[in-house]
């Protein structure tokens, strides 16, 4: 009995070895499978989907129908193939939205409409496909807020005005909206100070710090956006380029010779040490090779 158990374990181990690193199945929640597109897949939409596909998916999935997907584990597969086409639109939409390594998630990369466009494009390779009746998205009833950024250069103040967009396309000052201000840096955006809540006129003011280094051209790029962690509003941020900030005369990191720089900016002493060492040692090696020729020649019987 014990022997048999051991045998089973061992065979199990051996068999599972090659599959290590392979994927588990990709489960889609039942309610997500039923999701359908909010519009009809017209040829125009499919054309738009093709553009999204060639920009975002082609590098891995290749040309539909050509089986030329990228060599990844697990394989991305051809999306026009039967196996992929058997899935519902909802399943596809869910997979594109959430991703599964190495397939990236497109939640924040493509808008919902754009994701549906790709689905539409991929369905164009399936002549037997009949689109389920589209279900329009529920109309959004929450607050729709847009921001407007201005800079008061005498006061060194950044002024953010928030507007509620009303049903009848009118604008009204949006009070009580939490706004944050960011400035663009080399890597990502830097938050400036704490968030400010707009007053009854829908205005939030930020003081622009005088010692903040500007970009090389003397400008600073600002971004204002609404803080809405619960996602209750539809908001549009605003950006502004202003001639403000401490002028930046620091040399670029890549201007001086340094360890971290590119080859042409290597420190001279490293280039010299490396080259000299190689030359000296290989000089001796060549000398020895020539000596071997000498041994050969001097041994020839006269």
């Amino acid at each position: 009995m014990r022997k048999r158990n051991l045998f089973i374990v061992l065979t199990g181990l051996t068999l599972s070895f090659p599959f290590m690193g392979m994927s588990q199945t990709w489960d889609v929640p039942a309610d997500q499978k039923e999701v359908v597109a909010p519009f009809k897949f017209t040829p125009g939409i499919q054309k738009q989907g093709e553009q999204i596909y060639s920009k975002n998916c082609h590098s891995c999935h290749g040309n539909p129908g050509k089986n030329d997907w990228a060599k990844l584990t697990p394989p991305p597969g051809d999306l026009s193939a039967v196996k992929a086409q058997q899935q519902t639109d909802g399943e596809w939409f869910y997979k594109i939205t959430t991703g599964k390594a190495p397939m990236p998630e497109f939640r924040n990369v493509l808008s919902e409409d754009e994701r549906w466009w790709v689905v539409a494009f991929l369905r164009s390779f399936n002549p037997g496909y009949i689109q389920p009746e589209p279900v329009a998205k529920k109309v959004f009833t929450g607050r729709v807020v847009t921001l407007n950024l201005t800079f008061d250069s005498t006061q060194k103040q950044v002024i953010v005005k928030a507007y509620d967009m009303l049903q009848d396309k009118r604008k009204a000052p949006a009070a009580g909206v939490e706004v944050e201000l960011l400035v663009k840096r080399y890597f990502g955006n830097l938050t400036m100070g704490s968030p400010v809540t707009t007053n009854t006129q829908g205005i939030a003011k930020f003081t622009f710090p005088g010692d903040l280094p500007a970009q090389r051209d003397g400008f600073s790029e600002l971004v204002a956006r609404v803080l809405d962690p619960k996602g209750l509003m539809q908001t549009t941020p605003d950006t502004l380029r202003i001639a403000a900030g401490k002028s930046n005369d620091q040399p670029s990191l890549l201007e001086t010779r340094a360890w971290w720089s590119v080859r042409s900016k290597a420190p001279v002493w490293i280039i010299l040490t490396y080259t000299l060492s190689v030359l000296i040692v290989w000089g001796f090696i060549i000398y020895i090779l020539l000596s071997m020729v000498k041994i050969y020649k001097s041994g020839k019987l006269k």
């Binding site: 070895f17 090659p18 290590m20 690193g21 060599k71 990844l72 584990t73 599964k100 390594a101 360890w259 971290w260 720089s261 590119v262 080859r263 290597a266 420190p267 490293i270 280039i271 490396y274 190689v278 040692v281 290989w282 001796f284 090696i285 000398y287 020895i288 000596s291 071997m292 000498k294 041994i295 050969y296 020649k297 001097s298 041994g299 020839k300």
Partner: protein
């Protein structure tokens, strides 16, 4: 055996009789070749499907391939220790070991370069390492010194062998004609003239001196590939000497193993005597003690300060997930061998060979412990990743690909020491004081 029993005939016969195509050799080579083909098939899978067939992922991106690389570079250092270091300080007993040591150096250094290729996702872009080389990058230094060390070792294997080749070509009459032509070409018209001897002697001198800094740099630079990062377990100022001393331990064990094998199979017990095993035992004890000293520094000092990341790393090694392997390596591969080597009776051929095997296995796992655990303990928390990114588990394909370099090394060593005398002929004859060879 008394010195006077050695005659020129006996030495020539004893040291060259293994140069023939016997069944054992063919069977062994057949076994190695078939195994290698299996491993190459595994590699073809990796070429086709990408590095994803191995267990390496984003966090642990250096797996067995890199441990292998460090191990191979380490083992190749022994050529320098035996021929150059012990030779230059005047140790006479090393003569019969020099060729074994140099062969090991050549084989491991040659294959070390290939091992790195196994870790490349796009090996066809290898040339870019040179085309876009940055002088500031330790990777360029590593590629440079390993190539240089390989060439130096090859020359140091070849030059002292020239006289032997001339002797084989003249004395071993049983060889097929074409093989004798090969020996003739390789022996560079050697006829024992004073000028030829002077050139050879001077060239060997230069090589012996050059190979010391070259050997030290190959392993120091390899250690820098790790030590120039600030990762816990790699961020160390003594990584260079730590690696070099560890390399001597692995290399000494490899030489002992080879000595035992060739002594038995090629019937060389008159030349590779108990004295040589005894002395190699002392060498093993010495280098192991030095290595122990560096190990103590490497673990005690960070363990005393216990900086946050070091604490996690050390805990996993000493008492956590990697503890079993860690203590096997430290006790089985270092402490016990030192202890055993203190006693003469364990420095006899059989016990010392068994110990050398343990040391070599431990040496490989030591490299594994240097390379992998550090990567499992990054500074930033690991988040939002698939389960199999968390811990490194080698796959079968990866294991086969990692075995290939060992087979290659064995093939190279087998071939070199099959067709060239394992023990230097002319030097041995000189040392035993028999009458000189006549080169007509």
């Amino acid at each position: 055996m008394a010195e006077k029993d050695f005659t020129l005939e006996k030495i020539t016969g004893d040291l060259t009789h293994h140069i023939r195509l016997n069944k054992g050799f063919l069977a062994w080579m057949g076994f190695l070749t078939i195994s290698l083909l299996v491993c190459l098939y595994a590699y073809s899978l990796q070429l086709k499907n990408g590095l994803g067939v191995a267990g390496i992922r984003d966090y642990v991106s250096w797996g067995m391939y890199l441990s292998n690389f460090v191990f191979f570079v380490a083992s190749s250092l022994i050529g320098m220790l035996i021929s150059a270091f012990l030779g230059l300080i005047g140790m006479k007993w090393i003569t019969p070991l020099t060729r074994i040591a140099e062969t090991i150096a050549v084989a491991f250094a040659a294959v070390a370069g290939l091992v790195i290729v196994s870790d490349m996702g796009r090996p066809e872009r290898l040339a870019n390492v040179f085309i876009y080389a940055r002088f500031q990058s330790p990777i360029l230094w590593d590629v440079t010194v390993i190539t240089t060390y390989f060439v130096l070792s090859l020359l140091l294997l070849f030059l002292p062998m020239i006289a032997d080749l001339a002797i084989i070509q003249r004395k071993v009459t049983t060889l097929p004609a074409w093989l004798r032509t090969v020996y003739k070409v390789l022996s560079l018209n050697y006829r024992d003239t004073p000028e030829q001897n002077r050139i050879i002697h001077r060239s060997i001198r230069i090589l012996l001196i050059l190979i010391i800094p070259a050997a030290l740099s190959i392993h120091t630079v390899t250690s820098w590939l790790f030590a120039v990062t600030s990762r816990a377990g790699w961020d160390s100022t003594i990584f260079g000497p730590y690696f070099v001393s560890g390399a001597f331990v692995a290399g000494t064990a490899a030489v002992i193993l080879a000595m035992f094998f060739f002594r038995k199979n090629y019937k060389l017990s008159d030349y590779l005597t108990d004295l040589h095993f005894n002395n190699m035992g002392k060498v093993l004890a010495t280098v192991s003690l030095v290595y122990l000293y560096f190990n103590l520094n490497e673990f005690l000092v960070p363990g005393y300060k216990l900086k946050r990341a070091d604490a996690v790393h050390l805990h996993e090694l000493l008492a956590g997930k990697d503890a079993l392997l860690f203590w096997f390596v430290q006790i089985g591969g270092l402490l016990l061998p030192i202890l055993f080597m203190l006693f003469r009776r364990f420095r006899k051929p059989v016990p010392i060979t068994i110990i050398a095997v343990a040391v070599l296995i431990a040496a490989w796992f030591k490299r594994y412990l240097i390379v992998i655990p550090t990567q499992e303990h990054p500074f930033l928390p690991i988040q939002h990743i698939p389960e199999n990114f968390l811990h490194y588990t080698p796959t079968l394909t990866e294991t086969l690909i990692s075995i290939a370099p060992f087979l290659l090394v064995l093939i190279i060593i087998t071939l070199i020491l099959k067709f060239f005398p394992v023990i230097p002929l002319q030097e041995t004859a000189k040392e035993k004081g028999v009458e000189p060879f006549i080169f007509d």
